[in-house]
């Protein structure tokens, strides 16, 4: 397997996704005494190109490792970051690659990738229940962490009116309600 440099990986995404590619950033920092480089790539894609981006990632590494999906409430949008790692198994060669998708709050839908990476199921279920992003085509849409009696339509990670209301939050003794 040929290992590409971070710059070459960004270029390969650009050619593979064409219009779907928005931007990319490469973050580097030095570690410990020998100053080896720690590298992270961030790639911004449009939602329409998202599945294509994951498929393209499978060309770079047969089984890309998806660590987690993190989501952030940005006000009008919700940003999902799929944290991948590729080139594992080689000393000093592994790269962290964050695939970012911005979803407008009026249309919170993202296609599932469980058909490409079966292990994405848990984190897709979590994103669905905690952030209220609908994962289209998810094979198992039950809740993961939240109990069955947790009210519908309340999403703990949201920072808007759909987040947990004040009466759901327990205030610790000696503290005041924020």
């Amino acid at each position: 397997m040929e290992l590409l440099s971070p710059g070459e990986i960004v270029d390969s995404f650009k050619t593979a996704l064409r219009d779907g590619f928005i931007d990319a950033k490469i973050y580097q920092c030095e570690v410990a005494v020998q100053r080896n480089i720690f590298k992270t790539i961030w790639i911004y894609v449009k939602r329409e190109a998202f599945r294509g981006a994951v498929e393209h990632l499978c060309n770079l590494q047969e089984y890309p490792n998806l660590a987690i999906i993190s989501s952030c409430d940005l006000g009008d949008n919700i940003e999902l970051i799929y944290h991948f790692t590729i080139y594992y198994g080689h000393h000093l060669e592994e790269l962290s690659l964050g695939l970012r998708v911005n979803l407008p709050k009026s249309d919170l839908k993202i296609p599932t990738i469980t058909d490409i990476i079966p292990g994405a199921l848990f984190t897709e279920r979590e994103t669905q229940e905690m952030m209220g992003v609908e994962v289209v085509g998810i094979p198992d849409e039950r809740r993961l962490f939240l109990p069955e009696d947790f009210p519908e339509g309340v999403y703990p990670w949201r920072k808007d009116e759909k987040g947990p209301p004040d009466d759901m939050l327990r205030v610790l003794p000696g503290r005041e309600q924020k």
């Binding site: 570690v31 005494v33 720690f38 089984y63 660590a67 592994e94 993961l144 924020k178």
Partner: protein, 414 residues
């Protein structure tokens, strides 16, 4: 029609929320046909405490180190480790090299104690309590060493953003080396007990197999993944802290047996090898430890001000005893709390392998097979038997299941 349904009927055995193999809450639903497991389902969330929410809504990043440390009682080095790395990447802080070495030493001590704890639990699950007592007695040595170095047996409070809180001084080296020598002297005995014992071999070989392809698809990480032949180890692949200066190789079972089966036996081999590796890493760190300060910014008030003004994001990845821990942090200027904090503990992904490894096993193999993943619920329910044909439920307690497991060992010995 009725005839057909009766033939196909399987029983569903719910295990938990009080755990069958470990003393932490999770629920498994096992579909069984006689003694054989046909399918399994996992229900998590019984210990979901909303720690990420607190980090995003209540605490400042320095306070969140305490929270990160309390995500798990065993991995309370690697969670703050990857958390502070994520914040450091986000805020552009570089820890001094000496801190990198102290971090790695404490993380390896944690690996030794965690793997020994697991080895004891595994022996207990197959009813081999002599080994359980032996291993846990041996484990006391590393617990004492952890207390000697950090001042605490459990939550060590060693980490600060931009460094560590306590030094490991030259005067402490002989005491540390003494413990390491003790483990080196008994390593062969432990290896003989776990790898050559006939009973352990009978109960663990070809049990709970996870093939390499399945491990890759289900993203299984840590020793469980390496036992299936996936040479993935953050310390090797994308080394952080002092690991970047050392040449670390991911341990796979073929180093001992020549082949990779991916069964419980292989998971024992990997963990044993990693105990030895951890000892070597601590020794190398002690040798190479550079002098210098412990903190990039010793004044907490100044640090907090920097963190409030910081804008950016970072990913911290650390190899915990159970696999890869990832913390993602996003910081916004002028906001004292974190904008986003996402934690992924290794058990989160390893649990997805549970249905695969339990399929085709017997009920008596559930405790050891499930325990072989070394699941940790804090980081991420007794058994009810449902008769689908009769729509009847009954409950199988942990004691009964443990008894079944003991019986199987007895039967094999005869």
């Amino acid at each position: 029609m009725i005839q057909e349904e009766t033939q196909k009927a399987t029983y569903t055995i719910p295990v938990g929320p009080i755990h069958p193999a470990l003393k932490e809450p999770i629920r498994l639903a096992l579909s069984v046909d006689g003694e054989e497991i046909v399918d399994a389902d996992v229900f998590v969330g019984q210990v979901h405490r909303g720690i990420e929410w607190l980090g995003m809504n209540r605490n400042n990043p320095v306070q969140s180190i305490y929270l990160a440390e309390r995500i798990c009682g065993i991995c309370n080095i690697c969670h703050p480790f990857s958390f502070v790395m994520a914040v450091e990447h986000a805020a552009g802080i570089t820890p001094p090299p000496r801190a990198d070495y102290i971090r790695a030493i404490t993380a390896e001590m944690e690996r030794i104690h965690s793997h020994l704890l697991w080895a004891g639990v595994a022996a207990h699950e197959i009813g081999f309590d002599t080994v359980f007592y032996l291993v846990w007695r041996v484990r006391e040595e590393i617990m004492d060493l952890i207390e000697y170095v950090t001042g605490n047996r459990v939550t060590k409070a060693m980490f600060q953003i931009g460094g560590v809180r306590r030094d490991i001084t030259e005067e402490q080296f002989p005491r540390i080396r003494q413990s390491l020598d003790y483990y080196k002297s008994i390593f062969d005995q432990l290896k003989r007990v776990f790898l050559d014992d006939k009973t352990i071999q009978m109960r663990t070989r070809n049990v709970g197999i996870l093939k390499k392809e399945d491990a890759l698809k289900l993203l299984t990480c840590g020793p469980s993944g390496r036992a299936s032949g996936v040479p993935k180890d953050v310390r090797q692949d994308q080394p952080y802290a002092a690991y970047a200066d050392l040449d670390i190789k991911a341990m796979t079972p073929d180093m001992v047996t020549g082949t990779v089966v991916g069964d419980v036996y292989d998971r024992i081999i990997v963990r044993l090898l990693e105990v030895k590796q951890a000892i070597e890493i601590i020794e190398q760190c002690l040798e190479k430890m550079p002098p210098g300060p412990l903190l990039a910014q010793p004044k907490t008030a100044v640090l907090l001000k920097t963190l409030t003004q910081a804008e950016g994001e970072g990913v911290g990845r650390a190899e915990a005893p159970r696999g890869e821990v990832i913390h993602y942090v996003r910081m916004e200027a002028g906001q004292s709390t974190l904008a986003t904090w996402k934690v992924r503990a290794p058990t989160y992904v390893n649990l997805m392998a549970v249905p695969t490894i339990l399929k085709g096993m017997q009920i008596a193999d559930v405790p050891i097979t499930f325990a072989s993943l070394d699941p940790c619920m804090s980081c991420t329910n007794r058994m009810i038997i449902t008769d689908r044909a009769l729509r009847k439920k009954s409950i199988m307690s942990y004691a009964e299941m443990h008894h079944l497991s003991l019986q199987k060992t007895e039967n094999l010995r005869r």
